[in-house]
């Protein structure tokens, strides 16, 4: 009974990914900032697939990668976001974002068991570019504190959705489902990389 709780929590969080935005009480100020920050990472498919891939790969590699990768990504992404906000330029940001989907998707699809330090380094490098892109595309008139909370929570939930889906590897044939998901992510990354989207 006890061991089922994480699965239930992660499955519930995974349901949040395909849901549409709830706008019943949209307001400016704090609510607007929270909503703006929350939707920012979700509206870009190149970002979404890469963040889900981080969770998938973490679940695939098992502990401690299970928590090291999803913990590393938001921290380093925030650093990249801060660089973007203050105007520090980075080269080929869009290229690296698309490449992240391809590389991380292939890691999952090919079931690559990279050492923890290498996996964390790879995720951290890509996270810098994702954060930078978000940092340079800021909304206007949003509450900065609420925006930051919404932005980080949305990113984290995408990782958790990936981890939740990644837990399928514990089921018969679930491993193949996860690898197919990785391949799909790589294809979507490729679509962005070669300029079809």
């Amino acid at each position: 009974m006890k061991t089922r709780l994480p699965f239930v929590v992660c499955a519930t969080l995974a349901l949040l990914v395909p849901s549409t935005a709830v706008l019943a009480h949209t307001e400016a100020g704090v609510t607007g900032g929270l909503l703006s920050g929350f939707t920012h990472p979700i509206y870009g498919w190149d970002h979404v697939v890469a963040m889900i891939a981080v969770g998938l790969w973490g679940a695939f590699l098992g502990s401690p990668a299970l928590w090291v990768l999803p913990v590393t990504f938001p921290l380093v992404m925030a650093l990249g976001g801060a660089l973007g906000v203050v105007g520090v330029p980075l080269p080929e940001v869009e290229l690296f974002i698309a490449l992240s989907g391809v590389v991380l998707g292939l890691m999952v699809a090919l079931a690559v068991r990279a050492p923890l330090w290498l996996a964390a380094l790879l995720v951290a490098v890509f996270a810098i570019f994702h954060g930078h892109a978000h940092g340079t595309e800021l909304p206007t008139a949003a509450n900065p504190f609420a925006y930051a909370i919404g932005f980080v929570v949305a990113t984290g939930l995408l990782h958790l959705a990936g981890i939740a889906f990644g837990f399928l590897i514990r089921l018969p044939y679930g491993r193949y489902a996860v690898q197919v998901a990785g391949a799909l992510i790589a294809v979507i990354g490729g679509v962005f990389l070669f300029g079809y989207a």
């Binding site: 006890k2 709780l5 994480p6 299970l66 928590w67 090291v68 999803p70 913990v71 590393t72 938001p74 921290l75 992404m77 925030a78 650093l79 976001g81 801060a82 660089l83 973007g84 906000v85 203050v86 105007g87 940092g135 800021l138 909304p139 206007t140 008139a141 949003a142 900065p144 504190f145 925006y147 930051a148 909370i149 932005f151 980080v152 929570v153 990113t155 984290g156 958790l160």
Partner: protein, 216 residues
């Protein structure tokens, strides 16, 4: 709870506290805590001060990650370093007149570092090391809360409020972390708190960037 007894060693302290309380009650004037008039200004000032560490993002994003850090550090993490935190909070009140808005960069930076340490399980610090961290965090928190105010400028009740609010902002996350790890599934709960820590660190970093360059 049947059969629960106060440990023998604590009985003298309990008796002393009881006697002191009775003596205070005997010498006190009429208590009007709920009369809604007497002392209302003082209470409002206290509440105003207590709200500062919660409502100022630059202060909350320093204290909450520190609470997460000491809660994850060890079971009695906060009690072990609380004296240092109290000293830091006191020194912060004293140095508040000397600081300017740049203090928020330091509070947010310290918060991001504490959150990163808690998230990545960098907790090898000995008690003395964590006490130094507590001292610095306390100093930054109250000096940022009272930024630029001269020593006699802020009412004493407000100062007490800031002091109380800062302690509460650390104690709540610390207690939630340590008690949940102790009572629920330790491995999963630890992972959950590491994720929360990384999120709080990320929020601190992004907010720090907005302090440098505000949203358009």
């Amino acid at each position: 709870m049947f059969g629960h007894r106060v440990p023998a060693a604590r009985c003298p302290a309990f008796g002393l506290a009881l006697v002191c309380g009775m003596l205070c009650a005997a010498g006190a004037s009429g208590a009007r805590a709920h009369a809604f008039t007497a002392g209302a200004d003082t209470y409002l000032r206290f509440v105003e001060g207590a709200a500062v560490p919660f409502s100022a993002p630059a202060v909350a994003l320093c204290l909450v990650p520190f609470g997460l850090l000491v809660g994850a550090w060890r079971r009695d993490g906060l009690p072990a370093v609380w004296p240092a935190l109290l000293v830091g909070l006191g020194v912060g009140i004293a140095v508040a007149p000397l600081v300017a808005p740049w203090i928020s960069f330091l509070t947010l930076g310290a918060g991001a570092l504490c959150a990163s340490a808690a998230a990545l399980a960098w907790l090898p610090l000995a008690r003395i090391g964590m006490a130094v961290v507590a001292l610095i965090v306390g100093l930054l928190a109250t000096s940022a809360s009272l930024e630029g105010h001269a020593l006699g400028e802020v009412p004493v009740a407000t100062l007490f409020g800031v002091f109380f609010g800062a302690n509460l902002t650390v104690a709540l996350p610390a207690a939630m972390v340590s008690s949940s790890i102790e009572h629920w599934w330790p491995d999963w709960t630890r992972i959950g708190w590491r994720i929360v820590s990384s999120w709080s660190g990320a929020i601190a970093l992004i907010y720090l960037a907005f302090e440098v360059r505000p949203l358009p």
